[in-house]
């Protein structure tokens, strides 16, 4: 495991990571790098986020779509859990609420494959400070 021994080390690691991430974003092969974040805080898990996340991982694989599925914390839209944020390459992220297996399926089929929006978008209503 990398030991961070100095500030320089830390910055190097960060640059590396950021490099990787922007590589991800600006990849020449955009279809292969759809990013999916599933909000997996207590509220989300309680309303089935785990199953949704598993579904995405398995189905995207089965359907031959290369994507990065990660978990994340609470997005704040507790009323609409489970919530999932999808970022198609080169596009702004879109948050879907009340995502169950059926919804996840149509998100893959319609939005991820075709860029066709699906009902139940949660409009983002906040600004996050940039680093």
């Amino acid at each position: 495991m990398t030991q961070v021994k100095s500030l320089a080390d830390l910055r190097r690691i960060k640059e590396n990571l950021q490099g990787k991430m922007s590589l991800r974003e600006n990849s020449n092969n955009p279809e292969s790098l759809v990013q999916i974040r599933v909000a997996m805080a207590t509220c989300g898990i309680a309303s089935g986020a785990k199953q949704v996340m598993e579904f995405f991982i398995e189905e995207l694989d089965k359907r031959n779509i290369q994507a990065v599925v990660t978990q994340t914390g609470c997005m704040g839209y507790c009323f609409a859990e489970p919530t999932v944020e999808i970022t198609l390459p080169g596009q702004a992220p879109v948050v879907y609420g009340y995502v169950d297996i059926n919804k996840a399926d149509s998100i893959i089929e319609k939005y991820i494959k075709n860029g066709e929006l699906v009902d139940g978008i949660i409009p983002v209503n906040y600004e996050t400070i940039q680093k």
């Binding site: 100095s6 990571l17 805080a41 929006l117 978008i121």
Partner: protein, 597 residues
């Protein structure tokens, strides 16, 4: 890849739904299809935009045009003008209330700037179980900066200048607290993170720990550097298993990276963190009680002074801050005190996370700059009251806070304003109530909580709150007298004046603030034996209007206690002696024959 050139997003939130958004959606779809545009333009329903006052809302993508108060009759104009001819429909654009100008691009709408995520910056963005993602968002940069470029005193000065105040409720200046602890002389000191979020209805600390545990770890290490401590303790609720897991993973990763442990970042600074578990006692949110609990004792508070900064955990100087406070620290270090103190109000800097819950459309976790008004939070972020009901009150500060009403809606939220209005910031629970909530019952609910959570050490809290609760109970049962209302007020004042700790001193706030703002409701319970919200069962009577009753027997069949009698096709009656006021008859009656009096 994009199949559609344009999207029309129609708000499908509850409030907009009530104002015919569904018909609007259908109309838009029909016209699009009629014009043969359905392969190019997609119309979809979305969740609530949070801007329900101006609903229904239609947003046109990709140009971010934001139409407000759109009726089905406006549909054709939007499509013909905007979609086909590319000319925005000015009269439907959002009108900036200050400049009185139409805003065409929603990105320029103040509304979107209502929320600013600082403490929650990484929640919902990074994978909390992956330290790399935290580092890529400048994680541990602040710690590195402190350790290698700043002296502890400089960091403390920066914190003081930032104006950050404790987010756990008290609002004590964080930098000052650090300074006091740093000045206490001792071989061993402790940094404690208070994650015993016990305020019913507040869950921001849980969310931060679940979504961004490293920010807390980093901040604790910075605090340790400032005060001269190498031991950190997180006192966390045992009821938060996921937060515990995430925190454990984060601590492990930080150790593996050498960001916790000995000689952090090649400096001589050592710091590590252990977990201590709460066991279900609200009073342990009070710092002295929390410390006793960590020492394996009953969580009873003790008098301050001595303050924990001087004599805390095992009598060593101990700095206690809560999760949200810590989560702000790394950003402040990275972006500077000036940046931070530019956000917020005069005496309360930065942002505050609120857990918005209750009878509101968009229940959730929000973060707004201090000084935002309640109206903005409730109507512009929270999406207004559920089911089109009427707003009655918003409770802030949990069991220590009070109920604020209509007249407080335009008060900017900060520590001092809330106290002046008879409530308090507390940890940030914000429970919205509507006309169906009885204020006497709400006060009773909070007192029941306090009675259950009182540690029992001091008389005013142990017996006084019990008596408050009993009087409130009497009122909700219709047995109260006007003297009881006076007694509530006087006793509340004495409890505030004499209780030992913060829990006791603030416990009568829900009573006092509801009496202040809803005295008429209290009086009604006494003089008219009436509960206008229909919540006090003892004051309700279910009766059957003979003219409407057709004798279908549905009510009688569904009554769980057989309180209803009557022949088939005959008029039914309810035996009030037996009735338990469950409401089943009212629900089952199809002829509006059952009414509540």
């Amino acid at each position: 890849m994009a199949k559609y050139k344009m999207h029309l997003l129609v708000c499908g939130g509850t409030a907009c739904h009530a104002s015919e958004s569904e018909r609007l959606l259908d109309t838009l779809k029909t016209i699009i299809a009629d014009k043969g545009l359905d392969s190019e333009v997609q119309v979809i329903a979305t969740g609530c935009f949070g801007f329900c006052e101006k609903g229904p809302i239609v947003k046109v993508m990709p140009d971010n045009t934001f139409y407000t108060q759109v009726t089905p009759d406006d549909a054709r104009e939007i499509i013909e003008e905007h979609i086909i001819k590319g000319r925005k429909v000015n009269r439907l654009l959002y009108l900036n209330p200050e400049s009185k100008e139409h805003v065409s691009d929603s990105k320029h709408m103040g509304f979107y700037k209502k929320q600013l995520r600082i403490a929650l910056r990484n929640c919902g963005f990074i994978d909390p179980e992956n330290i790399d993602e935290y580092i890529s968002r400048d994680g541990y940069e602040a710690l590195a900066k402190c350790l290698t470029e700043m002296t502890p005193q400089q960091v403390i000065e920066l914190m003081k200048k930032s104006g950050l105040r404790g987010r756990g409720g008290g609002g004590f200046p964080t930098g000052l607290k650090w300074e006091i602890t740093s000045k206490s002389v001792s071989d061993i000191k402790y940094v404690v993170c208070n994650a015993d979020e016990g305020d019913p209805g507040a869950f921001m600390d849980r969310s931060i720990l679940e979504g961004d545990p490293h920010s807390v770890i980093e901040a604790m290490a910075i605090c340790g550097y400032c005060i001269g401590a190498s031991n950190g303790l997180v006192y966390i609720r045992a009821e938060y298993p996921l937060a515990i897991d995430r925190l454990k993973i984060a601590i492990k990763q930080a150790r593996e990276y050498g960001l916790l442990g000995n000689g952090i970042l090649g400096t001589g600074f050592n710091f590590d963190i252990e977990l201590r578990y709460g066991a279900g006692a609200f009073v342990c949110g009070e710092e002295t009680a929390l410390i006793h609990s960590m020492e394996g004792k009953r969580g009873e508070p003790t008098m301050k002074p001595p303050f924990p900064s001087v004599s805390g955990y095992f009598e060593k100087p101990t700095n206690v801050n809560n999760v949200e406070t810590f989560a702000n620290v790394p950003v402040i270090i990275n972006k500077g005190a000036e940046w931070y103190s530019a956000i917020g109000s005069e005496k309360s800097k930065g942002t505050k996370v609120f857990a918005l819950a209750g009878k509101i459309n968009n229940v959730g976790l929000i973060e707004v700059p201090m000084g935002t008004t309640l109206r903005e939070v409730i109507y512009e972020i929270g999406g207004g009251i559920r089911n089109g009901k009427k707003f009655k009150a918003v409770q802030t500060g949990g069991p220590s806070g009070g109920c604020l009403t209509e007249k407080h809606l335009d008060t900017p939220i900060d520590y001092d304003n809330l106290i002046a209005s008879g409530s308090m910031m507390g940890s940030g629970g914000m429970i919205v109530m509507d006309e169906d909530d009885c204020m006497v019952s709400v006060a009773k609910f909070y007192l029941e909580f306090t009675v259950e959570e009182s540690c029992g050490k001091c008389t005013p809290c142990r017996i006084g709150n019990k008596r408050l609760h009993e009087i409130l109970d009497k009122l909700t049962k219709g047995n109260g007298t006007m003297e009881d209302i006076d007694r509530l007020k006087n006793l509340s004042k004495v409890i505030k004046d004499t209780a030992l700790c913060g829990l006791g001193q603030t416990s009568p706030n829900p009573v006092l603030s509801t009496i202040d703002n809803f005295l008429d409701e209290y009086v009604e319970h006494v003089t008219e034996k009436k509960c206008r919200a229909g919540q006090c069962k003892a004051l309700m009577q279910y009766t059957i209007i003979p003219d409407n009753c057709v004798g279908c027997t549905a009510c009688a069949r569904n009554c769980p206690v057989n309180a209803i009698s009557g022949e088939r096709k005959g008029i039914h009656t309810i035996n009030q002696e037996v009735c338990i006021k469950c409401g089943a008859c009212l629900e089952k009656c199809k002829f509006n024959a059952v009414v509540i009096k």
